[in-house]
Amino acid sequence: MTSSASILRRVGLLWCTLAALLACSSSGPPPAVEPGTVSLVFRHGKISGDPRPLQDLIRRFEAENPTIRVRSEPLPSSTDQQHQIYAINLEGGSGGIDVLAMDVIWIAEFSRAGWIRPLNEFFPYTAQASFLPNTIEAVTYRGRVFAVPWNIDAGLLYFRQDLLERYDRPPPRTWSELVETARIVLAGEHNPRLYGFIWQGRQYEGLICNALEFIWGNGGDILTTDRQLTALTSPATRNALAFMRDLIRTYHISPSLVTTADEETSRHLFGNGQAVFTRNWPYAWTMFERAGSPVRGKVGVYPLPTFGNDRLASTLGGWQLGITRDSRHPREAWRFIEFLTSTEVQKILTVQVGMLPTRRALYEDPGMFATQPHLARLGPILAGARPRPVTPFYPMVSQVLQSEFSAVLAGLRDPETALRSAQLQLEPVLRLEAR
């Protein structure tokens, strides 16, 4: 009897400790809400870099809008995990989320699922016109706008200015020029640890972004605007994929390690001075140029090459702000989104966090070029970036393509077989969308 009582006491003690720990780890009880105040929950992926500027901005918003309180809840930085958390919370209807930051590829899915609300009443065409048109295209599904573009990303070509100058080569405009330049530099340098061109070929979403840039640069595509797969099996798409494989296997300017590389691997290699060219998002620029970086002052940035058709072919990325359907305070949520996407706040986020703005005016603002000189060159590339296929079934499309493209790079299937297999798998997905 006594022993069981003592066990009970111990268990009780354990529970108390656990409860105390939990109480410490959470941010305490929710702040007492005065009558008339509205409390918003804002969920977003962890900000890469300094989180303080965003916190300061939220405090400033609260000071300007004394009746609104904002609780910001950062999610893990992996986009797959964020997607999973949103899907479970929003489908379960128990999210308690008002404002959320979404990856550009989720907009169609989230709007079709009814998880986010259309914003046309708040965000009319006249207001949309001050944003970069491609970012508006990416947040529009079936004629309605579902989010406001917060920041923009696009694939860029980084190159070693010093090496190109040493061999008197201009930055490449076409892929064959890139291959030629890389070969000349590699032959001249005799450095076994120097690679020609590093990109992202790991089996993940980044592979789709990279592959689309080659495909678009050759005039190919995955889905045509009328939702057909005809472009997928076209020679243009096929040759673009074959070229990616040949960069590794025939031209030997990309090492086989690109088939496992993601953005960070690429950034480390180029940042260590181990590559002549690399493809990456704009965030890499800040890393290359920061104090102590071996390549500081030696890096040039340029639009990605094409196969000679002179069209810009960067994949569009970035984060968008939307309001959940279940939010009980859409009006206040909109005030918050309006604030976060305002010209002034975008300027602060660009300078302090390195998040590139979606408002057109900022790319024409001479004040911005003074502090961010590379913005002048990036503007046209960002404005020309193309969204990935806008479909609610994008995750399925991406899963199929990731596996087939990876098989081509690994040399397991030739591009024709892989693309035909992708077509077979994607047809049922498109039929689902047509329902």
Binding site: R202, Q203, P255, S256, T260, S403
Partner: protein, 298 residues
């Protein structure tokens, strides 16, 4: 002869355990089977009974057969290596020599490390540019080009198996050490009096007496290996070109990334059957063994 009320009491005492099992195991499994018969993509309002269509689609999908093959290959090869290696280490550690206590403790370390940490650790060691494996290969002049362990289709799965063997062999060692400790020392003494060679002792005494625990070890490891997820997901996420995509990684991608609950559950059902089949086979072998044992004694 037991009396009737005793049997009734027995059943009554079983009820709580059965109730718990029903809630935590049987209900979810039935739920899985039910879901696998539906096309269900909830976010898009698609939810319909489609009979066996998911399974029909499954058998037509090369990616499914690929993941089934990867799963079996991974499970059979890693368990074989783990048991062979684990048995050798256990036989060594069962002897008495100075420092054996320390050795036993040290050998358990890999098992104590969380799988995700193990996976990240090996990921770095395999890294083509910065990894220690390529550093040694290059320093010894064996290769000039770095080997892309996790990016080459034929290498990636084996690289993952090595990491898995490193991590789980200690588990096999602990269980087999316990099994070896149970073998009475007088049978060994009798064997040495009869002049048995070490190999004969191992073949005709150690191995048969260790057999029951060996079966349990293989069963546990097989069930675990057939569900392999975390190690592979962290190291390769199934790539390159799905060559390391096991059934559970495929199911995860279909369930939680593309939200196809019906199709994903069908993959789950196949995994369940696979594990059930292996367990039944082991049970059958175990029963046969114990029957033989009884017959041999009588």
């Amino acid at each position: 002869m037991r009396d009737r009320s005793e049997i009734h009491t027995g059943y009554a005492l079983l009820v709580p355990a059965l109730a718990v099992l029903a809630v935590v195991a049987i209900y979810p499994i039935l739920g899985l089977f039910w879901l696998s018969l539906r096309q269900r993509i909830l976010p898009f309002g698609i939810d319909a009974f489609i009979g066996l269509d998911n399974f029909r689609l499954l058998v037509q999908t090369p990616r499914f057969w690929n993941s089934l093959g990867v799963t079996c290959y991974f499970a059979v090869l890693s368990v074989t290596l783990e048991v062979t290696l684990g048995l050798s280490i256990a036989l060594l550690l069962a002897r008495r020599f100075p420092g054996v206590g320390w050795m036993r403790a040290v050998i358990l370390l890999p098992w104590a490390i969380p799988t995700v940490v193990t996976a990240k650790m090996w990921d770095w060691m395999y890294q083509p540019e910065l990894g220690i494996l390529n550093y040694f290969l290059r320093a010894s002049g064996l290769t000039t080009e770095p080997v892309n362990w996790l990016g080459t289709p034929s290498l990636a799965i084996h690289a993952a198996i090595v990491a898995d063997v490193w991590k789980t062999t200690p588990f096999v060692v602990i269980l087999l050490l316990a099994g070896l400790a149970l073998i009475p020392s007088d049978v060994y003494r009798a064997a040495s009096l009869d002049g048995a060679s070490p190999w004969q002792t191992f073949r005709h005494i150690t191995l048969p007496l260790l057999r029951p625990i060996l079966m349990v070890v293989v069963l546990f490891r097989m069930i675990d290996a057939l569900r392999a997820f975390d190690l592979l997901y962290v190291m390769t996420s199934g790539g390159p070109a799905d060559t390391t995509e096991t059934l559970s990684i495929y199911a995860y991608k279909m369930l939680f990334q593309t939200l196809q609950f019906g199709y994903g559950s069908a993959i789950g059902v196949v995994m369940f059957m696979l594990v059930a089949l292996v367990s039944l086979f082991q049970l059958w072998v175990g029963r046969r063994d114990s029957r033989r044992f009884v017959r041999a004694r009588s």
